[in-house]
């Protein structure tokens, strides 16, 4: 039973088709990675799934319901944390952003404090975003998304703008939160190892006009470990297969 389904999504910008019949079904509680090279329309697909961008044709369904606007179940996490956080708000109020319009400022701030603790940022509520490192700012962005208690998280390369060690750190944090909260996740990324390490399944997106060409089962045991999991033969084999597919593009 798919929880989030994209059914024959088409998208054109100014008459130029960028997406053709992209179809993908994400199960409840599943971690789905969408892998593709830069410029293949990954973000476009994710924005359509989030209801932020209307498809030219096709349907997005969440729990069987067709959506046309951003649904309350799903929250989108942006790649550019520096642009998605509000520079005039403290870290606490940036996280309260998620719920203040529904619950009021007081309640939203209380939730923000709890969520900041979960991402390891207790005590940073009064800081401003620019006073934090990139990795910490991305944690704030993740906390903001979690504070809304979404059933679905849509992640637009949220780990790509930080350094390699911080990325491993964020991976661990995120896997922990994902398993504890039983979230359904759709992650778009161009990083093959990141996709294998995090996901249950990996959907491969082709070049423009893009569509989902193949879906791979990862099948690695959980909990995953940043060092040993990456050394498993299954990991290396899948990595090789996926890289070959990505590099075999005609106009790469």
């Amino acid at each position: 039973m798919s929880f989030l389904s994209l059914d024959a999504i088409n998208k054109s910008f100014a008459g130029v088709p960028v997406m053709r019949d992209a179809t993908l079904a994400v199960r409840e509680g599943e971690f789905m990675a969408v892998l593709g090279p830069s410029g293949c329309g990954k973000s476009t697909l994710l924005q359509i799934a989030a209801g932020l961008l209307p498809p030219s044709a096709g349907t997005v369904r969440i729990a069987g319901r067709a959506i046309t606007a951003p649904p309350p179940e799903a929250v989108y996490v942006f790649q550019q944390y520096t642009r998605s956080l509000l520079p005039w708000r403290s870290v606490r109020d940036n996280v309260a952003f998620a719920t203040e319009h529904r619950l009021g400022k007081r309640r939203a701030r209380a939730i923000a404090e709890e969520t900041l603790a979960q991402v390891g940022l207790s005590g940073f509520g009064d800081h401003f975003p620019w006073q934090l490192s990139g990795g910490m700012q991305q944690r704030v962005a993740i906390a903001r998304a979690l504070a809304a208690e979404p059933a679905i998280l849509l992640l637009d390369e949220p780990f790509s703008a930080v350094d390699a060690l911080t990325r491993l750190d964020l991976h661990a944090l995120f896997l922990d939160i994902w398993s504890r909260r039983k979230l359904t996740v759709m992650l778009v990324t161009h990083d093959v190892e990141e996709a294998i390490y995090l996901a249950d399944r990996i959907a491969l997106l082709t070049y423009r006009p893009s569509s989902i060409s193949e879906i791979f089962e990862v099948g690695l045991p959980r909990p995953r470990d940043p060092i040993t999991t990456r050394a498993l033969p299954q990991f290396l084999e899948l990595r090789q297969t996926l890289l070959q597919k990505l590099l075999a593009r005609p106009d790469a």
């Binding site: 924005q47 989030a50 209801g51 932020l52 951003p70 309350p72 799903a74 929250v75 989108y76 942006f78 550019q80 642009r83 998605s84 509000l86 520079p87 005039w88 708000r89 952003f97 998620a98 719920t99 203040e100 319009h101 529904r102 401003f128 620019w130 903001r144 809304a148 849509l154």
Partner: protein
């Protein structure tokens, strides 16, 4: 201490100019009837301050500036947000704004006098008109510049339009809005003084003109000094308020 020293050359130049003027007038290089020596202006200014006679005209002018500035700013921000947010509002209002904006607002004072007379209403309207356009243009630019990513963030969290405008668009555009208001504050003082001169009653503007016409040149210059101080004080107060409102900007942090 250090910052006081930094301004020393500028203050020294000012003192030198005043002293030079004093000397030039006393040496007969400038006619006293046109330019009394600064010391005589100082005496007149002192009398004015000591007698308390400066209070009423000063407050009359300040009232115009504040009332007109508040009304013009509020309308300018509202129109700027509407035009920046709703394309239909932009298409409706842009031709009108572009037609009216280039008119020097001073040129509208005679027409306003026809409709509103020479009282408070006309003067406040003149000031508000001068303030309205720069605030509108800057607000419009600020609203249009709000980052798409921030707006999408609000959408994915289910924010409604009113909440977005109040808590996202306005604060994001605030640096632009305040820059427009700072320009408008200077214009407000210009139009307040000018409409007082043209209406022939009340406030600093009228007095400066009246003193000149009745050959009380010393008093004319004394009022001019008061006007200069008012302009400086208004600008300084605004800068302090602006810095406080934008305290989150890294440049404004200690």
């Amino acid at each position: 201490m250090r910052s006081a020293l930094r301004w020393l050359p500028g203050i020294a130049l000012l003192v030198l100019l005043v002293a030079g003027l004093e000397w030039a007038v006393n040496a007969g290089m400038i006619r006293r009837a046109l330019m009394p020596p600064p010391s005589a202006i100082g005496d007149a200014l002192w009398d004015l301050l000591a007698s308390g006679d400066f209070v009423e005209p000063l407050f009359a002018t300040l009232r115009l500036v504040f009332a007109g500035f508040a009304i013009g700013s509020a309308l300018g921000i509202a129109a700027g947000v509407a035009m920046g947010w709703w394309p239909a509002a932009y298409r409706l209002l842009e031709p009108l704004v572009e037609l009216l904006r280039p008119i020097p607002k001073a040129a509208l004072v005679p027409a306003l006098m026809l409709f509103l007379g020479i009282g408070e209403a006309m003067k406040i309207t003149s000031v508000a008109l001068a303030v309205f356009f720069p605030v509108l243009i800057n607000t419009l630019q600020g609203v249009r510049g709000v980052d798409r990513v921030i707006l999408d963030g609000a959408r994915t969290h289910g924010w409604g339009t009113a909440h977005v405008l109040r808590h996202l668009v306005l604060p994001a555009a605030l640096p632009f809005i305040l820059a427009g208001m700072r320009v408008a504050l200077g214009l407000a003082l210009v139009l307040a003084v000018l409409s007082e001169m043209l209406s022939g009653q009340g406030g600093l503007g009228f007095l400066i003109l009246d003193m000149q016409r009745s050959f009380q040149v010393r008093l004319m210059y004394a009022w001019l000094v008061i006007l200069a101080v008012v302009g400086l004080a208004l600008n300084t107060l605004f800068l302090i308020a602006e810095r406080r409102a934008l305290h989150w900007q890294p440049a404004n942090r200690p």
